[in-house]
């Protein structure tokens, strides 16, 4: 390490400059600012879809700050008050009525949770459309996937805290799913719950996870996500690697410094978001029962099962996949797995080792799906998890010669639109009680969803691709 060198300033230099110089000699403050934002060069052709990363950071901060204030007054206690209401439930009403501005903090937190998922789903859509996960950005995508998993866990743990009917029974259903795992299932559920049913023990540990454990992990993952991004540089809607075309100043010709251009651009995006957010918080915090479930205004009661137990809207798409996996559907899946394995043997360029491994797994799955083996509930959990995990493999499934949807064959756009429709259909069906028609539609949507990803190595390379330009498509403002 070089010896300490003190920056010298002329005697009439402003105090602020001397202070900054003192700090910079001991901590890379200015360097960090410049590398991470001030002089971080980003492509100039970002469009609407590129605001959601910044918005996600904003909402994370919002949730943490509102969460801190809620934690000052919330009590994670499932025992009853003298009036027969669970203490946790009563503490939320205390916040809503007695804590000055408590109602505002509560609504910001509940709306923020739903806003977080809307933003994250749109953020992932951007990634899908523009191939943001392609080499060399695979690790950004993987960190992002880990963030998504943590976010879902954070929302799940947080939802139990108000201890309403939906909180209680939603947690009961989801933790019971772990009981479907053969051999270790029941013990695993017992360990997660801390009791034989969701109870005070469960509430207290979920509180700990929600308030500190997962937020710490989330902050670390977000830092990793951003560090990985800044290491390789942002992609852009044209999928062009801007660093391949440097100007005389050493910066990409198609990039601009984030400050002031994206500072001011993101400020605008944030102001639009906060306007919409405020409209919801102040005028429709329940959002028709989607952001704050009506049933959750009944205190959780282990003796009264609600007629319909549905997860919060942001989980319903994956929940639909779980419900669609009926014992009848297992036969369809068995055929699908066999067909896919045969397809892999014939068309895939993978090594024989991998092909044999896949065949073994496929055989185990098919045998496990036969009547009398593992029941549909277990496979439902497997595909429920699979529908989330398959996203992580996207960088290695996409074999398109171009990154961005702009230069793919036109028919690819319909394939993506199909995925969007399937996802929204699954999401909608998950909010409704099960029905014969709904189950069929969910099953078709599930097949489409998995086919989109599993067959991507082939369809993503098919068709006539358009020529990717050398320079980004940018129209002067």
């Amino acid at each position: 390490m070089a010896a300490f060198k003190e920056t010298k300033f002329p005697a009439d230099a402003p105090a602020a400059k001397k202070l900054m110089g003192w700090v910079d000699d001991r901590f890379p403050a200015t360097k960090l600012w410049n590398d991470q934002w001030g002089k971080y060069y980003a492509p100039k052709n970002f469009n609407f879809w590129y605001i959601f990363g910044s918005l996600a950071m904003l909402v994370l901060v919002l949730q943490i700050v509102t969460g801190i204030f809620l934690t000052m007054h919330y009590k994670p206690d499932a025992t009853m008050t003298a009036s027969g209401v669970p203490v946790a439930f009563a503490s939320v009403e205390y916040i809503m009525r007695e804590v000055p501005w408590g109602w505002l903090v509560r609504y910001m937190h509940s709306t923020g949770a739903s806003a977080f998922f809307i933003i994250v789903y749109l953020h992932m859509t951007r990634g899908l459309m523009y191939g943001s996960y392609r080499k060399p950005r695979e690790l950004i995508w993987l960190f992002g996937f880990a963030i998504f998993l943590c976010l879902m866990a954070e929302a799940f743990f947080g939802y139990l805290l108000p201890w309403g009917q939906m909180s209680y029974w939603g947690a009961q259903v989801i933790v019971n799913l772990f009981g479907a795992i053969p051999l270790i299932g029941p013990d695993l559920s017992l360990w997660i719950r801390g009791d034989y049913v969701v109870s005070d023990a469960t509430l207290n540990r979920f509180f700990a996870f929600h308030v500190i454990a997962i937020p710490l992990v989330l902050l670390g993952l977000v830092a990793a996500h951003l560090i990985a991004l800044h290491e390789v540089g942002s992609s852009n809607p044209d999928g062009i690697e801007v660093k391949e075309n440097l100007g005389p100043d050493g910066h990409p010709v198609d990039s601009i410094p984030s400050h002031p251009y994206y500072t001011v651009h993101d400020l605008f995006g944030v102001s639009v978001f906060l306007t919409i957010f405020s409209a919801v918080v102040f005028f429709a915090p329940e959002m028709g029962g989607y952001f704050l479930e009506y049933n959750n205004f009944l205190p959780g009661d282990s003796m009264k099962t609600p007629p319909h137990i549905a997860p919060t809207w942001y989980f319903t798409a994956f929940y639909s996949v779980l419900r669609a996996t009926t014992s009848d559907f297992l036969w369809v899946l068995m055929v699908g797995i066999a067909a896919y394995t045969a397809f892999l043997w014939m068309k895939s360029k993978l090594s024989s080792m991998v092909k044999i491994a896949v065949s073994v797994i496929a055989l185990v799955m098919i045998v496990g799906m036969l009547p009398g083996a593992l029941d549909a509930k277990f496979w439902g959990v497997v595909f429920f998890g699979g529908s989330v995990v398959i996203l992580a493999f996207l960088p290695w499934l996409d074999h398109s010669p171009v990154k961005s949807i702009r230069y793919r064959p036109d028919w690819h756009k319909y394939v993506y639109a199909g995925l969007a429709i399937a996802f929204v259909a699954l999401g909608y069906l998950g909010t409704q009680p099960p029905s014969p028609i709904g189950t069929i539609i969910a099953q078709i949507a599930t097949l489409y969803y998995f086919s989109f990803f599993l067959l991507m190595p082939w369809w993503s390379a098919m068709g006539t691709f358009k020529k990717v330009p050398d320079r980004v498509v940018f129209h002067a403002h």
Partner: protein, 254 residues
């Protein structure tokens, strides 16, 4: 934008998943009392007199009623019956254990019941307004009354003196789901014994109680909306300024 048109056509293929509401007595819309202080005060009076005998409203502090234009003196003199202080919560004197023994179930806490009973098609107020007005004479029930909205409700018809006694008429019609079978279809109420209020007076009184319960479920609602107007005005101005600031910087980018 050919792609958008085709996408729209594609979306039209998604079958309309409109499922009919499951059965349930059709709910009437509760009259809006949210801007009527006098009605809300009347509702508070009726609520304290009739409901707190069995139910708790344990999140509701008596002195919060000042928001409805009542003074602490008025609250102390008219609404406190069992020795509570004006700063205490609205709790019932009936012990839960006795309630369970007498009614078979503990009467639920009513603090946020108006929010809990909402559905996508009806507000919680609609449920409560219809519920309180559809008790009918039924000698098979321990309380002598049954309810159209909540069949076999354990709750007695607390407001029977005001409404009087009504009976429900049923007619036999063909079951639309199973041919050859008959089912009972509700065909209106019939007043058996008049109460102290006319139908209009009673409906108004119940609307007041329900309006009060809706207010009680979220006392900050009015303030929330009032503040929201100013917030949105500010945010619109701010967003417009941010938009023009952004445009002015990006003019430099070629």
């Amino acid at each position: 934008m050919i792609f958008s048109k085709k996408l729209l056509a594609l979306l039209a293929l998604v079958p309309a998943l409109a499922f009919a509401n499951e059965g349930g007595f059709p709910l009437e819309k509760a009259p809006d009392r949210s801007h009527n202080m006098a009605a809300l005060q009347n509702g508070a009076k009726l609520f304290v007199n009739y409901c707190l005998n069995c139910h708790n409203a344990s999140a509701m502090r008596y002195n919060r009623l000042r928001d409805l234009g009542l003074s602490e003196e008025q609250i102390k003199n008219n609404l406190l019956f069992t020795g509570e202080k004006v700063g205490e919560m609205m709790t019932t004197a009936m012990p839960a254990k006795d309630a369970k023994a007498w009614f078979g179930t503990v009467p639920p806490d009513l603090s946020v019941i108006a929010r809990a009973k909402a559905t996508p098609s009806n507000s919680g107020s609609d449920y409560l307004y219809t519920y309180l007005r559809t008790f009918y004479k039924d000698d098979n029930r321990p309380t002598g009354f049954n309810n159209m909205v909540l069949p076999n409700a354990a709750m007695p018809h607390v407001l029977w003196e005001l409404q009087g006694v009504q009976s429900a008429k049923f007619e036999e019609v063909d079951d639309p789901h199973e041919h050859g079978k008959k089912m009972h279809k509700f065909a209106g109420f019939e007043q058996v014994k008049p109460g102290t209020m006319s139908k209009l007076e009673f409906d108004t009184a119940v609307a007041d109680i329900v309006g009060y319960m809706e207010w009680m479920a979220e006392p900050a609602a009015q303030k929330r909306k009032q503040l929201g107007v100013w917030v949105l005005i500010f945010m619109t101005i701010f967003a417009t300024l941010a938009w023009r600031l952004n445009a002015s910087y990006w003019k430099e980018v070629k």
